[in-house]
């Protein structure tokens, strides 16, 4: 199931639910009758068609693992053509077209024994959330740490699941990096992701974690450079850039 299938045809996908992650970001779950399954970390192409026949295609990471629906999580960008429509306008019960799953490199497989270090910048948390959820679903005990960089507390996606995973024994280690405003009670001063945020016992270079870094290009470049600087093997750092 899933993995490296030929993505091929455009599939009809019906929006079944839309839920709020923040004041503006939304998770959309689609029902896709011919969905072949996917691996955590993969993405889809979404195609919208206007009445005049004009079509627009954008990529979105799958934020839930196989077995939990075909879900994407969208941050509407100002003056964007596709993301505001998906986040606000597409009616529940209406259809779009999807192609996928796409991308066979930025993936985590539950049978992989290595510790995993996830580094998210903003909406880049979406494919990493699929990995955390796939771990939870598989019952794997693989050590997972998520370092999640976000502007301020109101921007935090997937709150309930992240709080649950962080709060239970054998769950995941979750570390927030607030770049502008920290919530009350958080000791780390607000500021850009630093090497110290990425250094935690269990996920040090000698622990040979598999590192997944996702977010805007500038963030990914910065975070990957920090990891290399700390001594992580470049061959074990996988990156996905959102634009």
């Amino acid at each position: 199931m899933g993995g490296l299938t030929v993505p091929g045809a455009w599939l009809r996908a019906r929006l079944t639910t839309r839920t709020a992650e923040t004041a503006t970001a939304r998770t959309l779950v689609f029902s896709v009758p011919d969905w072949p399954g996917h691996l955590a970390g993969q993405h889809v192409d979404v195609r919208l068609t206007a009445d005049d026949g004009y079509q627009a295609v954008r990529s979105y990471s799958l934020s839930a693992p196989a077995g939990e629906g075909v879900a994407i999580s969208v941050q509407p960008v100002p003056d964007g053509e596709v993301s505001p429509y998906l986040a606000q306008e597409l009616p529940v019960g209406a259809d779009v077209q999807l192609r996928g799953p796409l991308g066979g490199w930025f993936v985590w497989r539950p049978e992989s024994p290595d510790p995993v270090l996830l580094v998210a910048g903003g909406s880049g948390v979406a494919p990493l959330m699929a990995m955390l959820r796939a771990r939870e679903r598989s019952g794997a005990a693989t050590p997972f740490r998520l370092v999640y960089s976000l502007r301020e507390p109101g921007q935090r996606w997937f709150r309930d699941d992240l709080d649950r995973y962080a709060g239970r024994d054998g769950g995941a280690d979750v570390h927030y990096v607030y770049t502008r405003v920290s919530p009350d009670g958080v000791v780390r001063p607000a500021g850009r992701l630093a090497a110290a945020d990425l250094s935690a016992p269990g996920w040090l270079p000698q622990d040979r974690p598999l590192c997944f870094v996702c977010g805007p290009t500038g963030f990914v470049e910065h975070a990957a450079n920090l990891l290399v600087g700390l001594g992580h093997d470049a061959g074990r750092i996988r990156t996905e850039r959102f634009g």
Partner: protein, 199 residues
């Protein structure tokens, strides 16, 4: 009525004939990398062409700089749907390297520092359509954009324009490079939207 995405409207796209299907114009610079940016010194940089029978011809940085330079200004198209018009580069046409090795092979594997590979039909690398470049926009190529030197094959999707290039291996039969083995297209012609397997 298309039956899809009711109420969706075209927003700010242009009908520029320079834009291949499914692409839009970027203000930034397209990036598609599988991992972190390697740091490569010019002093130790070499460029190697390996012919189909294993024979090698190698150039140092100084020898590469001494070759006749060209300054192509081209449009580039990233498979992540960004296109950028009128980018200016400086470097050496790939033909200048290929002239030193026996021909006859139909395919090439472009190889990079850091282990990245991408396969390209030899026709697409030759005939003045591809360069090994070391300057972008009048300045030395930054590491995140592939410096000290990268491949430039503007008529194919930009993942074929391998960053941190270290050589070309000629092949009689096509083999798949890094992204190609992970679902991307073997040729990658943006005008035919050859993005993934089966396109």
């Amino acid at each position: 009525m298309s039956g899809f995405s009711p109420g969706f409207k075209r927003f700010h796209r242009s009908d520029d004939p320079r834009l291949p299907p499914g692409q839009f114009v970027a203000d930034g610079f397209p990036v598609l990398s599988a991992g972190p940016t390697p740091r490569i010194e010019r002093d130790t940089w070499t460029f190697t062409v390996t012919d189909a029978s294993g024979g090698e011809r190698r150039w140092t940085w100084a020898e590469y700089q001494a070759l006749a330079q060209e300054s192509p200004t081209v449009d580039i198209h990233c498979v992540t749907r960004w296109s950028k018009f009128g980018t200016s580069w400086r470097g050496v046409p790939v033909d200048a390297f290929l002239a030193h090795v026996p021909n006859g092979a139909g395919y090439a594997m472009v190889e990079s520092y850091g282990g990245y590979t991408t396969n390209v039909p030899l026709d697409d690398l030759a005939n003045g359509r591809a360069w090994i470049v070391h300057e972008y926009d009048g300045a030395p190529l930054a590491p995140e954009h592939g410096g000290p030197a990268r491949m430039l094959i503007p008529h194919l999707y930009f993942w074929k324009s391998a960053k941190w290039v270290r050589g070309i291996r000629l092949m009689e039969r096509d083999e798949q490079g890094f992204w190609e083995s992970l679902g991307y297209h073997d040729r990658g012609d943006p005008w035919r939207e050859q993005r993934t397997w089966g396109d």
